[in-house]
């Protein structure tokens, strides 16, 4: 997947294999992985002559943002699929916490 993300144009299985040459993966292994990524919707593929060409369905940043949103969006209609350490707080609560933290750090080690 990193290979797909690092390349602007769509890649065939062979091109992905070449870019992963140092990993010494079998051609069929790469093909299987790419096929699986396409089935899960993370990669899109289109025919180019005889070979399939693969490209990422969305950028790496978009996926990271998606994960972070589901991690931080704990208010409202949450699914309880994840458990976040701390939910988001209101501005007034954040101000109170900041002053509490500052007061706390002024008297270390008690």
């Amino acid at each position: 997947m990193d290979v797909l993300w690092d390349t602007a144009s769509p890649l065939t299985v062979r091109e992905v294999s070449e870019r992963l040459a140092e990993r010494e993966l079998a051609h069929t292994t790469v093909m299987t992985v790419l096929d699986r990524l396409a089935k899960k919707g993370f990669a899109q593929r289109e025919r180019d002559g005889r070979a399939w060409q693969y490209r990422p369905a969305a950028s790496r940043e978009a996926y990271v943002t998606e994960l972070m949103l589901s991690a931080l969006d704990q208010a409202g209609d949450r699914q309880a699929a994840l458990a976040s350490f701390a939910r988001s707080v209101t501005d007034s609560e954040a101000r109170a916490l900041r002053s509490a933290l500052e007061a706390f750090e002024d008297r270390p080690g008690d």
Binding site: Q74, A75, A80
Partner: protein, 314 residues
């Protein structure tokens, strides 16, 4: 059968009143485990009592409890064609309506629970697959995956193949001791499957989206689960580390949201983080043994009484 209806209605109403009171009570923070137990009993007891009361209205006066009464009524309904003059038609219509309502309520509760479970599993599967593609290990956070994003986030993805995830922003925000405390907190969630405790209440919110009590209940249970994990983390790490980590998270979350969408999420959980910090820094004594027993007995009564009335005649 009227006594049964009365008792079941009373249990259902007690559960709703109890939920309202428990949501605003102060003692759950002192004993999160006991409060969570009581919440589960309130939810289960209410469901049993509400379905049971409707079914009992439909049940024919029989000396066999709600289940037997309903069966007797159903048997009569089949045989009714042969003997139409036995009961006023209005009463029969009322019984049928109640039975339909009871079955509908039971079906709604079961269906919503199944739907929420399926949705949660689907979300987690996608999330886990994306983590495999995107996250990396980091020696600074043993046992956790690191996601390269500047905002502070730490969460766990519960399940059979659970994951603990922290963002790169968290690595910058916390010192090593605080990070260890946060990881201990998340490990407690994963180990004790706190997500399963919360699931029925998420389902109740889905079943009754207009009902304020269910949302207050879900919010209260979510907070109690966090407090329980705080307590577990406190066994391994000093409470102070977890408290400062929480404060840093709270401050960072509100002041530097990485995108507009994230800034708009501050609606729920007013004062939750503050409440957790306060109870970490100024620990309250736990419940006395007598109160513990009281809570356990109430929970038991809430579930056993409606369940028993399904089979025991009154």
């Amino acid at each position: 059968m009227l006594v049964t209806v009365g008792v079941l209605t009373a249990v259902a109403m007690t559960a709703v009143t109890g939920a309202t009171m428990l949501a605003s009570a102060a003692w759950p923070g002192r004993a999160p485990a006991a409060a969570i137990l009581l919440w589960q009993a309130l939810g289960l007891g209410w469901g049993l009592a509400a379905v049971g009361a409707l079914a009992a209205l439909a049940a024919r006066p029989a000396h066999t409890g709600v289940a037997g009464g309903v069966l007797a009524f159903a048997g009569d309904a089949v045989g009714q064609a042969a003997d139409p003059a036995r009961e006023p038609i209005a009463l029969t219509a009322f019984r049928v309506t109640c039975l339909v309502l009871a079955v509908a309520l039971l079906a709604l509760l079961c269906w919503v629970l199944a739907a929420v479970c399926a949705a949660v599993l689907r979300t987690r599967r996608r999330h886990r697959a994306l983590l495999t593609l995107l996250a990396r290990g980091d020696p600074k956070a043993p046992g956790a995956l690191v996601l390269d994003h500047p905002a502070a986030a730490a969460y766990c993805l519960p399940g059979l193949r659970s994951r603990i995830v922290i963002s790169a922003g968290t690595l910058d925000l916390l010192d090593p001791a605080e990070l260890a405390a946060v990881l201990a907190h998340e490990r407690a969630h994963v180990r004790e499957r706190h997500d399963l405790v919360l699931l029925p209440f998420t389902a109740l919110c889905r079943a009754f989206p207009r009902c304020g009590v269910t949302f207050r209940a879900q919010h209260a249970v979510a907070l109690l689960v966090e407090m329980l994990a705080d307590d577990r983390a406190r066994r391994a790490r000093p409470a102070r580390e977890l408290a400062t980590a929480l404060m840093r998270f709270g401050v960072a979350g509100a002041s530097a949201p990485p995108s507009g969408a994230l800034a708009a999420t501050a609606a729920g959980g007013q004062g939750d983080v503050t409440a957790r910090v306060t109870r970490l820094l100024e620990p309250q004594p736990g419940l006395s043994r007598l109160l513990w027993v009281g809570v356990c007995c109430s929970a038991l009564v809430l579930v056993v009484v409606p369940a028993a009335l399904f089979v025991i005649p009154l």
